[in-house]
């Protein structure tokens, strides 16, 4: 049987292999070299690859991502760490107006293939400015790809895919997953960006999730099974592009859909997915699609308030019950 690996370690391993295979891969960010990153993901890379490839940068997210765009255009493959997704606001111009549009604006003759790693999500009681899930912003920008794995093996494979990708990729790591273990990645199970995965097969409804809430979706499916409801759980893994074929095929079988994310509900990724299913799978649906997401407000700090704020298995079960009733 395969051994286990932690989520953060799996990303570290992918980075190490990418760096060993290609000198063009560099890692930059705040406190990522000697300190190994706020969540330890880049630990050990400095010793292995040296200070020119694993670089602590001045505290300027705009400079880090702007410089990554420049380095990418010069032929490097920068992997940038933004310490918390909340700070990515400061790098938005470089991402949205530069990296995302480079290929298009240069008539296909230039590109900015960088990877931006950043942790999102709550559960650590980190308050309104260190807990947000802002992935919908990126999925809404033409030219950017966005992935959000839920297992160590997927994180490993998607990081490899992101580094190899010819376009800029936003690689989102849910903070509550760093400590989680899972089966170590197998080389033959490579994951392409844009590929969903069925975590559990079922016949009565489809629960679609990505990132940490996949665990809640599985828990909910387990509970629902004991009530005689057979839920299929799909991990989207990539948001842009997302695997519409897998979702439509599942809905064609189950006729019911619950989409779950930790990001706030309004104008979130679930809105796009539900709209798409309504457009292209309307006649397969036996019930209105359901969304389970955080309420439309900033994440609160206090642990008991945050527990209410974050979507959980119970909320998924309720939505599933509404859907099948």
């Amino acid at each position: 049987m395969s051994s286990e690996i932690k989520f953060g370690r799996a990303i570290n391993q992918a980075l190490r292999e990418c760096m060993a295979a290609d000198d063009a891969v560099i890692v930059i960010g705040e406190d990522i070299a000697g300190a190994g990153g706020s969540f330890g993901v880049t630990r050990g890379l400095l010793n292995e690859f040296g200070e020119h490839r694993v670089r602590d940068t001045p505290i300027s997210e705009a400079a880090i991502v702007g410089a990554a765009v420049g380095a990418a255009m010069c032929g490097l493959r920068p992997v940038v760490e933004i310490m918390f997704m909340d700070f990515v606001t400061l790098a938005m111009d470089a991402l949205v107006n530069q990296a995302a549009k480079m290929r298009f604006m240069f008539g296909g003759r230039a590109s900015a293939p960088l990877v931006l790693r950043t942790p999102h999500g709550g559960g650590l009681s980190a308050g309104p400015q260190h807990s947000q899930c802002l992935e919908a912003w990126f999925a809404h920008v033409p030219g950017l790809k966005t992935v959000c794995p839920s297992t160590p093996a997927d994180a490993y494979h998607l990081m490899k895919a992101a580094v190899a990708d010819p376009d800029p990729v936003i690689f989102i790591e849910n903070k509550s997953l760093y400590g989680a273990s899972g089966p170590a990645p197998q080389a033959e199970n490579a994951v392409a960006i844009g590929e969903a995965k069925t975590l559990r097969a079922g016949t009565d409804l489809t629960i679609l999730a990505y990132g940490a809430v996949c665990r809640d979706a599985l828990k909910a499916a387990e509970m629902l099974a004991s009530e005689g409801v057979s839920a299929e759980v799909i991990d989207l893994r990539s948001l842009q592009p997302w695997d519409k074929d897998a979702v439509l095929a599942s809905v064609a079988r189950t006729h019911r859909l619950v989409v779950v994310h930790e990001a706030v509900r309004d104008f979130g990724p679930a809105a796009e997915i539900c709209a798409h299913v309504a457009e292209f799978g309307f006649f397969d649906l036996d019930a209105p699609p359901e969304r389970v997401a955080a309420p439309f407000m900033p994440p609160p700090f206090a642990p008991d308030l945050e527990r209410v704020f974050r979507p959980n298995a119970e909320a998924i079960i309720e939505a599933a019950r509404r859907s099948v009733s």
């Binding site: 705040e30 406190d31 000697g34 300190a35 706020s38 200070e51 020119h52 670089r55 602590d56 940068t57 001045p58 505290i59 300027s60 997210e61 705009a62 400079a63 909340d86 700070f87 606001t89 400061l90 009681s125 980190a126 308050g127 309104p128 400015q129 260190h130 509900r265 309004d266 309420p295 439309f296 407000m297 900033p298 609160p300 700090f301 206090a302 642990p303 008991d304 308030l305 209410v308 704020f309 909320a315």
Partner: protein, 410 residues
């Protein structure tokens, strides 16, 4: 492509690493009193030397010397000393509570007490402060109730921020203390904007803000400096160079090739380097800058030169990146010891009085902690009622949020 040999590019590195003996021999410490004091209305272009000086008042014999001596009364100095001691005791108690998990997160200001306390003393109480997370001393100096600070840190029923903010991110309108932001440096342009609005209202209230040297790499620092310079905003901008930004030494933030104060020169703003562990120097420099601001002469950047005595926060382990106990060798000493020795030196204070006061502060924070947890603990509550967290997203709760609240059964 022609290839060249040699190293790729320069990567700054601190001279000292974990396990090394602390060594600050490369740090030049000018004699106290050596740096000149210009007239308060001196044009920025005529004070550029101050960006490479170091405003110091207390000499190695603990005497106040030179043109920057603010000539404070003994009582004023004793008040400052007492507030610094209280701040340190408060920090110690809170760290202990964090270690025993009664608090989830904390940030100490060890060694930087004068930075905040002396500035608060030199500013008017109605001047608006835009702090970072390490100026708790200024809030304490302004008389904030310690119990309220603790209640905020544990998000209990008495937390004025209703369980919404990280610990130590105090907000206190009554104390003209702007909410601490989790995103670095945002307070700098806000302070400039506030100061300009205050001028517009013909008020003589000025603004003051603090960032760390690490944060000066953010675009907001440069934006704020430009804005302040263009409109000659009545603002005192403090850049606290405590040598470390989490694990990154100040050279990685731009301190290797020039002083941080020197950044001001390019903006046409006076930049002064100040001994941040010298209460009198911080007071005098702040006063000089505040007078300039109040007299509509313009903004000032103060590089407050100090050392971060503790870990960055309770989430950080400095033994990974710097020698242990380096702070003890800091050539500019301990701000509390220096002011204490100064006062003892001319008979206004004694070691006994000092220890008595310290013990009183220790007891006071311990008692206040007990009272505070009477209003609820982080683990058990009571916290702000759950329904309150849906309030204040907008002035009026929108229909969709109301619906989502109801769906959550709240």
């Amino acid at each position: 492509m022609t290839l060249v040999t040699g190293t790729a590019f320069h990567v700054p590195a601190p001279g000292r690493r974990p396990g090394d003996t602390p060594d600050f021999s490369k740090i030049e410490v000018p004699r106290a009193g050596e740096t000149r004091k210009p007239a308060v209305d001196a044009p920025a272009g005529e004070v550029t030397d101050l960006a490479y000086g170091l405003v110091r008042v207390l000499d190695h014999n603990h005497q106040a010397v030179g043109p920057w001596d603010p000539q404070l009364s003994d009582q004023e100095l004793i008040n400052g000393l007492k507030t610094m001691v209280l701040t340190r005791e408060f920090d110690d108690r809170m760290l202990k509570m964090q270690r025993t998990k009664r608090l989830s997160f904390y940030m100490k200001s060890l060694g930087e007490e004068a930075v905040a306390v002396a500035a608060a003393a030199a500013l008017n109480d109605d001047d608006m402060l835009f702090p970072s997370y390490r100026q708790q001393g200024a809030l304490i100096a302004r008389g904030k109730d310690l119990g309220e600070m603790m209640c905020h840190c544990i998000s209990n029923a008495r937390d004025n921020l209703k369980g919404r903010q990280l610990p130590i991110h105090y907000a206190s309108a009554e104390h003209n203390w702007f909410s601490v932001s989790g995103n670095l440096c945002t307070q700098f342009p806000q302070a400039v904007g506030w100061a300009l609005a205050s001028s517009y209202k013909r008020s003589n209230r000025i603004a003051s803000s603090w960032i760390g040297e690490g944060s000066s790499a953010e675009g907001d620092f440069h934006a704020a400096m430009t804005l302040a310079s263009v409109y000659k905003a009545p603002v005192v901008l403090n850049l606290v160079n405590n040598q470390w930004a989490i694990s990154m030494f100040q050279g990685l933030s731009g301190g290797e090739s020039a002083t941080f104060a020197a950044k001001a020169i390019g903006y046409g703003v006076p930049g002064l380097r100040v001994d941040g562990n010298d209460f009198l120097a911080v007071y005098a420099a702040t006063r000089w800058a505040a007078d300039r601001a109040r007299r509509k002469i313009g903004p000032t950047l103060l590089e407050i030169y100090t050392y971060r005595g503790e870990a960055h926060s309770t989430s950080d382990d400095p033994s990974r990146y710097r020698p242990k106990d380096e702070w003890r060798s800091w050539p500019l000493g301990d701000p509390i010891e220096r002011l204490k020795n100064h006062l003892i030196g001319h008979g206004a204070w004694s070691a006994d009085e000092h220890e008595t006061w310290r013990a009183q502060c220790e007891e006071r924070v311990a008692t206040t902690w007990k009272e505070s947890i009477g209003h609820g603990t982080l683990e058990e509550g009571p916290h702000a009622p759950t329904h309150t967290m849906f309030e204040d997203v907008y002035a009026e709760q929108p229909w969709h949020l109301r619906r989502q609240r109801q769906d959550l059964g709240v």
